[in-house]
């Protein structure tokens, strides 16, 4: 905002700390997308998000930093680990995590990085702001959320509720209705689905309405008991 821009050759302590944290964030993000172990990717994601929370702290956005730690590190990564666990991914080193178009993806990513960095450096070379603490404290941000941004806040809470209910509905397998006419189409159209012998399936506790002799329904409605099929 100011006219006189300090030199890039004499960085302040804040900038040095910010650049170190940013290097940690970008480096661990690179490890997330290149590592061969699925669980390590999730743990490097924790490191990346933590370094980004440190970046927010340096930028005087304290409340956002703690929300980042709470929600991303605390909730999102744990959800990812649960997803890894529930899909029974191979825990150790696996060679088939990368698709066949790695080279093209690297080219696209490098092109994106080059274009974005060039444009950003060209556009904001003279942008400078002194950092004054207190602008992102919880009291100011809370006052702003609940005075100006009340309507988006409420709409967002409705969205969160809808997402919660949607996730529950998608995850449950014993909801009657909708699934019997869906199951024959999906079970016949997937050639890689192993056929399940009708004997080794335990009856799910919530699904007594399903007739037990229906083979199409048996192939689709028991997710957790079919580990021996593959």
């Amino acid at each position: 905002m100011t006219e006189e821009v300090p030199s890039y050759l004499s960085p302040t302590g804040q900038e040095i700390v910010f650049l170190l944290l940013g290097a940690v964030a970008v480096g661990s993000a690179l490890l997330v997308v290149t590592t061969r172990q699925l669980v390590h990717a999730a743990l490097w994601l924790v490191v990346s998000f933590g370094a980004l929370a440190g970046c927010y702290l340096v930028l005087t956005a304290e409340f956002v930093a703690w929300v980042q730690v709470l929600i991303y590190v605390g909730a999102v990564v744990v959800l990812m680990l649960f997803g890894i666990m529930l899909t029974r991914a191979p825990i150790g080193r696996s060679a088939d995590l990368d698709s066949g178009n790695r080279v093209v993806a690297a080219g696209v990513a490098l092109a994106t990085a080059a274009i974005l960095v060039t444009v950003v450096i060209d556009g904001f070379r003279t942008a400078y702001t002194p950092l004054t603490p207190g602008a992102g404290a919880a009291s100011e941000l809370g006052a702003s959320v609940f005075s100006t941004w009340v309507l988006p806040f409420e709409a967002l809470s409705v969205l969160l509720l809808a997402a919660l209910i949607g996730a529950i509905v998608l995850s449950r397998t014993d909801i009657p209705g909708g699934s019997p006419e869906d199951q024959p189409g999906t079970s016949t159209s997937s050639p890689g689905d192993p056929a399940v012998p009708p004997g080794d399936r335990a009856v799910p506790p919530g699904g007594p309405a399903v007739p037990p002799g229906d083979p199409a329904d048996q192939s689709g409605s028991s997710p957790s008991d079919r580990s021996g099929g593959h």
């Binding site: 905002m1 821009v5 890039y8 302040t12 910010f18 940013g22 970008v26 993000a29 997330v32 997308v33 980004l52 340096v58 930028l59 956005a61 956002v64 980042q68 991303y72 999102v76 959800l79 649960f82 997803g83 890894i84 899909t87 991914a89 088939d96 995590l97 698709s99 066949g100 178009n101 790695r102 093209v104 993806a105 696209v108 994106t112 974005l116 960095v117 950003v120 904001f124 942008a127 400078y128 702001t129 602008a135 992102g136 100011e140 941000l141 702003s144 941004w149 967002l156 969205l159 969160l160 997402a163 919660l164 996730a167 998608l170 995850s171 890689g192 997710p223 079919r226 099929g229 593959h230």
Partner: protein, 173 residues
């Protein structure tokens, strides 16, 4: 604080996320890469909020909203992935080709597939390569040109590559 520093770090994080979305095959890793891209946007929002000195704190409030939406996205996305795993026994994106064109059988004659593909298209006179290009672009990138060639000349260059790639995958699994 120079604004260039957070902007450049954000651009690099976004590019890393783009690479992860394009190059990974496991669906959960793709979701992680999407999270990286969202975090890059968050860093930009916070930095420009600090730079502009917004009295309403619109940048930081929008960052909070993006974090909440990302949490909702991860919840629904993982529920979809689990439903997918329940039905298909895989979370591998390259194997989920139900919505693509009828795939040519491995090691079959390519002219038969091209003929059947030409017969199945609803309007053969009008070239409509957009939906196959979108659905097939996960496998081999230069589809829109070679797909049109494959409609007429029956020597698609992508099929051989797909054959050897799936053969390699079968060997690994």
């Amino acid at each position: 604080m120079h604004i260039v520093y957070p902007a450049v770090i954000s651009a690099l994080l976004f590019s890393v996320g783009v690479y992860g979305v394009l190059a990974r095959r496991n669906t959960i890793l793709v979701l992680m890469s999407v999270e990286l891209m969202l975090n890059a946007v968050n860093l930009n929002l916070v930095a420009f909020d600090v730079w502009l000195g917004d009295r309403l704190h619109s940048g930081q409030v929008l960052t909070l909203f993006v974090i909440v939406i990302a949490a909702a996205e991860v919840g629904v996305g993982l529920a979809i992935v689990l439903a997918l795993y329940r039905n298909r026994k895989t979370v591998d994106i390259d194997q989920l080709r139900e919505l693509s064109e009828p795939a040519p059988p491995l090691s079959a004659a390519t002219d038969a597939t091209a003929r059947s593909r030409g017969g199945r298209s609803p309007d053969p006179g009008k070239p409509t390569p957009a939906p196959p290009a979108v659905t097939e672009s996960g496998g081999h990138p230069p589809t829109p040109g070679s797909r049109n060639v494959a409609m007429g000349e029956a020597v698609p260059s992508g099929n051989g590559r797909e054959d050897e790639r799936s053969a390699k995958r079968g060997g690994k699994l």
